[in-house]
Symmetry: C2
Subunit: 451 residues, 2 copies
Amino acid sequence: MEKIFQYIDQHKKEYLDELFTFLRQKSISTRDEGVSECAELLAEIMKKSGIESKIYATDRHPVVYGESINDENAPTILVYGHYDVQPPEPFELWESDPFQPEIRDGKIFGRGTSDNKSQLFAHIKGFEAYLRTQGKVPINMKYIFEGEEEIGSPNLEVFADGHKDLLKSDAAIFSDSHVHESGKPMTILGLKGMTYVEITLYGANRDVHSMKAPTVPNPVWRMIELLSTLKGEDGLVKIDGFYDDVRPLLDLEIEAVKKIPLDKEAIMKDLGITKLVQNRTGDHYYYNLIFEPTCNIAGIFGGFTGEGSKTIIPNKVTVKIDMRLVPDQDPDDIYEKFKKHLIKHGYGDAEVKHHGMITPSRTPIDNPYVAVANEAITDAWGEEPLVFPGIGGAGPNYVFTRNLGIPCIVVPFASADQNNHAPNENMSVNGFMNGIKTAASIIDKVSKMRR
Amino acid sequence: MEKIFQYIDQHKKEYLDELFTFLRQKSISTRDEGVSECAELLAEIMKKSGIESKIYATDRHPVVYGESINDENAPTILVYGHYDVQPPEPFELWESDPFQPEIRDGKIFGRGTSDNKSQLFAHIKGFEAYLRTQGKVPINMKYIFEGEEEIGSPNLEVFADGHKDLLKSDAAIFSDSHVHESGKPMTILGLKGMTYVEITLYGANRDVHSMKAPTVPNPVWRMIELLSTLKGEDGLVKIDGFYDDVRPLLDLEIEAVKKIPLDKEAIMKDLGITKLVQNRTGDHYYYNLIFEPTCNIAGIFGGFTGEGSKTIIPNKVTVKIDMRLVPDQDPDDIYEKFKKHLIKHGYGDAEVKHHGMITPSRTPIDNPYVAVANEAITDAWGEEPLVFPGIGGAGPNYVFTRNLGIPCIVVPFASADQNNHAPNENMSVNGFMNGIKTAASIIDKVSKMRR
């Protein structure tokens, strides 16, 4: 790999120049600004790098697909990324034009630098560098770059389900998110799922003067009782069967979490809290963050919410709850169990809205492609990555693990201070270069896997 | 009394003319419109009727005091009323000018008609009729008419405490509120008190992404636990000592409540509910309304309260609670017990605001002045009043029962459909005339009390 890495370092200026062209092309998906132009530019960039590319229309923004099929007996790696970006506003907080990228202090500033153009671009250039130096790529590569990630990926699953043969692969590599706060590289092997519900309980058909409180039912008190049935004093979720499908942890997963550097005091100080939540297995920050499913009250409101006092019996109260799920909890199944819970406890009359379902995903840490990714990162970055068996956030990785049935490994190149979705979004030049090297190294490591 | 009642009927037109002059004089206390002019007019009206009157300045609007001292060995009755009115807006919903009273369908329409000018005016004319027909009033009468009721009576208690000798009496008669929905006259012997608290619990120093829910404490869950400690499944308030000072009921009080006509189905249909609250002694509507102290959640809010979904751990949650108290619960004592409860259950860190204290009052139903008032009403209205030992509402009657140490009996003359505080406020002409007769009859009955 030494030779390839040298080649990559020698072409730094070219890579940055090309990246800047890509960054200058707006692709604001939420307001359809420049997205199809960006898709065409991206397909062109891929072609020049030796990847056959094709644009697939969806109901909104196109998918740019690419491939390099070289040996039908060799493994196939599917790289996922997104070429759409967040709107740049508020402009006045940017220190330079969001669509005129520039480098300051070793960082490329501009909209889409870290999220996600530079990261997917690194994969293209990693492929190109491998091809140019080695003459041929011995494995099969596929690329799926969507234009709708910033609006919730409404067509990603649809596209995957409709193109299972096209996307057939042995593993997916996601390069989004960022490396660890400590600067260490990392891999992320899972995301949580979600069942989001909104419950409303009604009392009288209008707010009633609270002088009637000894006679007219108050739905807020009833909601307190309802919510009290959902969680025990031990912090456990009391919905029957809630934990039934939680996948047993591998020893390797537990060990990996123990290796993640943790400064509990700093976390608590930053948040202004004096203790962390105690869960089934204690208050270990990363263990809970990664492995514990949750039942979180995101909002509650009913009755008088202004300043001062008003004496009413509220006619209704609403609570919003997000339940973050871990493999192999199924969001639809949890929703059904939740509804059964309400009926069991006498709240079958509650109005329940349902704001979204995401399936959790976790690629087992002992999957051979995890080792390959870690080795590639170690080569490119010069240090071993931290391995996160999962994170607290939810996302569409299940489209790969569940719908396509392949392992999915997140390999971020951006820094923790990337300002995603915010002014002065940036990508470290070093992370970008390491990303190209990682991408090339992944090809190398996969080609050497024992089969 | 027959002769006096005839005299009153004969002077109906004069009474209405004089009342209209009084009603035309604006006295909107909340914006200081015409209040002092109205006080002077009222003092003048009282003088013409044979009551010595005097205007006392307060920190804002004056008290109009009047008296007729006739026999230092005779009982003294103190009549309370208020000459200030609510603002008339919205004008467009009035069918006639709020300050140009007119009679339609047997009702006087105008701002202040029922609340409270006609009612206090009836007392003045009742006195006058007694005086004109009998030559002299054999008991002592005192009148306190404040100009700040519609802004919460900020100086009533101050005035009472500062003028204890001036106001020294044997009983107070309040003519505010309205007769029963059935049209039957009534007396009200008590009002509830109140302790109003606002509790805020804090979590992190900002809203936190709910991916952190397995690690960062959620103050809403903690609030659910806190609120769960306040009330039991039996509906009882679980604050230690909350019921300690609840005054035992008299058999007569319980019997009086049983006589109040009740259409439970109609009440539930109107409110769109299928059951009433179950309290310590069952779900008897009036029993609970009158005798049960409450702990009512008037409002709760925390976190995301908009449409749709957002995934956060709220940084704080606030709940507003009004506790309506019955004699002899003391609002300050209940507040102290509430704070002790928080500490006992581990919520000593909660932020507690305190939005007002009202002392409950209840004149015992066997007080001799209650019988006198009931007899006077029976004479004037031709039917016995319903006797409410109390109502669900809170108010300043404690200034009389507690600060002045005298029984306080509410004797309303207005109809239940009076539109208090609303457009088209009105007073039944019949109720007004019965009020004058009741006032005269009270003088008669008191003068005949055995001493």
